[in-house]
Amino acid sequence: MKIDRNNYEDFLIQKLEGQLSNEQNAELDLFLHNNSDIQSEWEAFELTRLIPDERLVYEHKELLKKNESVGIIPFYRTLMYATSIAASLLLVFFVSQKYFINQTQKNPSLVAVNNSIKNNKTENDTSEVKPLNNNLIVAENYSSKNQSSNGSENKSINNLQKTNSSLITNQITQVRISGDIQPMKPIVAGAVRTFPRVSYASFIWTKGLTVPHSPSRSVNEAGAWLQVASILGSEIIRLSGRGERLNKAPLELQFKNKPVQLNINNPYLRLNKFLSFKKKNSNNK
C-alpha cells in the first residue's frame, strides 16, 4: 500500500509500534520529508508513547512476589464468576426448598375429608365432620405412633374417626388422603402465584362455586391446597401475579403421595362446605 495523505496516520502508528518493515520505514521517512506539515503529527505520535517514571521505586518489591511453596491454581475470572453464580443459585434453591418443606410440615393442621360434610354448617363447626363408611378417602392419623401409610380402609377410617375427637378439641392432627379417589371434577382450581416460587394461592372449590380472591394465608396453606388438588387428580389452574391464566400446572408430581396438612378450621379453606367426593367405580362410573 502506498503512503499518501489519506492513510499516513496508520503508517505513523505502525512505525511507533515497530510494525513497519525496513522498506516501509524508508518510504514513510521519505513521505515525511516531502510533507513537512505532517512531521509535527509524527512528533505528537511519539509523545503518546508512555514512558515509565523510573524514579518511582517500591522499596518492598520482594514482598509482592508469591511464595512458590504455595500451589498456584489458575483460576480465570470468568470461571470464577460462573462458579459463584452457580453456587449462589444452588444455595438459594436449596434454602428455599428447605424453607418450603419446613413451613409445610410445621403447620398444626389436618385434613379430614369425607363425602358427608353438610353444606349448611358454619365453616368452623368441626364437630360436624364425620366420615361415613362408604367414603374411600383413607385418612391416616399421623399423630399416632402407628403410622401405617398403606393400612386397610377400615383401619384408616377408624383412624379418621379417632381424629374427629382431635378436630373438636383443635388438637394437632395430620391426616393423609390416600386410596382410590375419584373426585368430582373440577374439584379444585387454583390461582397460584408462581414467582419466585409457589407463594400463595387462591382456590375455587367444587360444585361450580367460585370463590375468587380467597387467598391462602401462607406458603404452607397454598402448598397444602396443591397437595389436595394433585392427590385428588383435580385440575389446578395457574394464574400469573396479575391474574392471567397460565398453563395447567404440572404440579401433581411434586405433591403426589405426600401428607396433606390443612387446618380444617381455616375459613379460607371451607372444607366443611365444599369438599365432596365420589366413590371410584361407583357413582362416577
Binding site: I13, E43, L47, T48, P52
Partner: protein, 84 residues
C-alpha cells in the same frame, strides 16, 4: 537577553514534566480498555498476544484498541496545541 527569556516563559511547556502531565491527562480520558492495553504495551512492554492473554481480547482487538488510543492521544496533544 531579557526578551529572549520572556519568550521562553510564554512558550508551551515542553519539559518532560509538562508533557508527561498532559499525556496523563489525555490518558485519563481514554476508555478503560484502551488505557489498559496502552499501559500494558508501554509500561510493561508486552506484545499484542500477551496483552490479549491478560485482557481476554484477541490480538486483533488489542491492536485496534492500541491504534485508537494512540490516535486519541495524538489528537488531544495536537488539537489543543498544548505541546506541539
Amino acid at each position: 537577553m531579557e526578551e529572549h527569556h520572556e519568550d521562553l516563559m510564554e512558550a508551551p511547556d515542553r519539559s518532560y514534566k509538562g508533557v508527561k502531565e498532559i499525556v496523563n491527562q489525555a490518558l485519563s480520558k481514554l476508555p478503560e480498555i484502551q488505557k489498559n492495553v496502552v499501559m500494558l504495551r508501554d509500561y510493561e512492554g508486552y506484545d499484542y498476544a500477551e496483552i490479549g492473554n491478560i485482557t481476554g481480547l484477541t490480538e486483533s482487538q488489542v491492536k485496534v484498541y492500541i491504534f485508537r488510543a494512540r490516535q486519541t492521544l495524538k489528537d488531544y496533544l495536537v488539537g489543543v496545541e498544548r505541546v506541539i
